[in-house]
């Protein structure tokens, strides 16, 4: 899955002390119980994306319609047309280059199989259906470590998977892009397509999170209540 026939975009190919400091501060705050890794990921996603993407709509439709779900899994390009994305003729989001508009594969999760998407060489991403890639997706940290230690990297996003769940990493390339179709979560019986689309956030479609009722990317700004409130007495 990793053949490339184009020059990768320029990338800073070293880890800086500032990058390390940022991660250390964040992880220490998590260790201290000030917030959780998952809270932080939700917050980060919020500032990146607002509103359901066409890919979220695709997943929501598939959850409601087994026939459409089958089309998604067998022919992602054809299935994309139902959510307004024609990969061949009319890229609706105007992102990227013609090399983006070739092939989409929809990776179906099961209760014992979790997919997650990466581009190990550069930052290939299904932009027409999922928008711009998040910055973390483009870092060597994510690209190199996900394929080696997927369970550890997913845990850093706040996604702890049981040991009996197999993780499959899909490596994007110039011709083929991937989105993840997560398992429809419990507690969504009777929901409409609109309701379902709201919980299929960008991170769920990349595979670093799973959908949960009540967790959407276009709700009000998330408010994190202090876990251990701290009294400050200084006078600025």
């Amino acid at each position: 899955m990793s053949e490339h026939h184009h020059e990768p975009a320029p990338m800073v190919d070293e880890v800086s002390d500032f990058e390390i400091l940022e991660m250390a501060v964040r992880e220490l705050a998590i260790e201290k119980g000030l917030f959780s890794a998952e809270d932080h990921r939700i917050w980060t996603e919020y500032v990146h994306t607002l509103g359901p993407t066409p890919a979220a709509r695709l997943v929501a439709k598939a959850w409601l319609d087994p026939e459409y779900k089958n089309l998604c899994v067998t022919d992602g390009v054809e299935a994309s047309k139902a959510v307004g994305v024609d990969w061949i003729n009319s890229p609706p989001t105007h992102f990227g280059t013609p090399s983006d508009y070739c092939n989409l594969r929809v990776l179906e999760d099961t209760p014992t199989l979790k997919h997650v998407v990466v581009c190990t060489l550069c930052s290939c991403y299904p932009r027409p259906i999922l928008g711009q890639s998040p910055e973390w997706y483009r870092t060597p940290n994510y690209r190199r470590r996900l394929v080696r230690w997927p369970r550890q990297v997913l845990a850093e996003f706040g996604l702890q998977l049981p040991s009996d769940v197999q993780i499959r990493v899909a490596d994007s390339n110039q011709k083929t892009r991937y989105i993840v179709m997560p398992v429809r979560p419990a507690g969504t019986d009777g929901w409409s397509e609109d309701q379902l689309a709201e919980i299929v956030t960008r991170d769920c479609l990349i595979g670093v999170a799973v959908p949960k009722p009540g967790v959407t990317s276009n709700t009000m700004r998330p408010i994190h209540k202090a876990v251990h409130p701290v009294e400050h007495g200084h006078g600025h």
Binding site: D17, A24, W43, E231
Partner: protein, 141 residues
């Protein structure tokens, strides 16, 4: 736990952060670290911000909790780990003093770490250990 009290900023201590002096660990990072501006120029990357800026912003926001959206007068003391205006005031002070020669957003990151240490949310030794752990993890590939 070091975070339980604002011990270095008690009401009897009117010293500003700059007057309390630099923090050796953060001076090391500042002196050793390569800023995004230089890295981007070297590698031909046009993104104006380093990839970690988005997660830094999220950390600042989540530590500030509801003080992000409430008028300053309505923020209940102790309702969040690091209130927005308090952190921003400290960042401004540090940006004008200790970190005056550091580029943005690196100085925001240094200022956040500085404030968190001075507020007792964690201490310098804990951060040093975590930096070592993270550095080891990121550089082993």
């Amino acid at each position: 736990m070091a975070m339980s009290e604002g011990k270095n900023h008690g009401s009897g201590n009117a010293q500003s952060l700059a007057e309390q002096g630099p923090i050796a660990l953060l001076e090391d990072v500042r002196n050793r670290g390569r800023v995004w501006e230089d890295l981007a120029a070297q590698y031909g990357v046009t993104n104006p911000d380093p990839p970690w800026k988005i997660t830094l912003d999220a950390t600042c926001d989540i530590l500030a909790a509801s003080s992000n959206v409430l008028p300053h007068g309505q923020v209940v003391p102790g309702s969040c780990a690091l209130p927005l205006l308090e952190r921003r005031a400290e960042e401004d002070e540090l940006a004008a003093t200790l970190y005056a020669d550091v580029a943005y957003p690196e100085r925001t990151l240094l200022a956040l770490a500085h404030s968190m240490i001075r507020h007792g949310l964690f201490d310098e030794e804990e951060l040093a250990r975590q930096i070592e752990r993270v550095g080891h993890r990121l550089k082993e590939v």
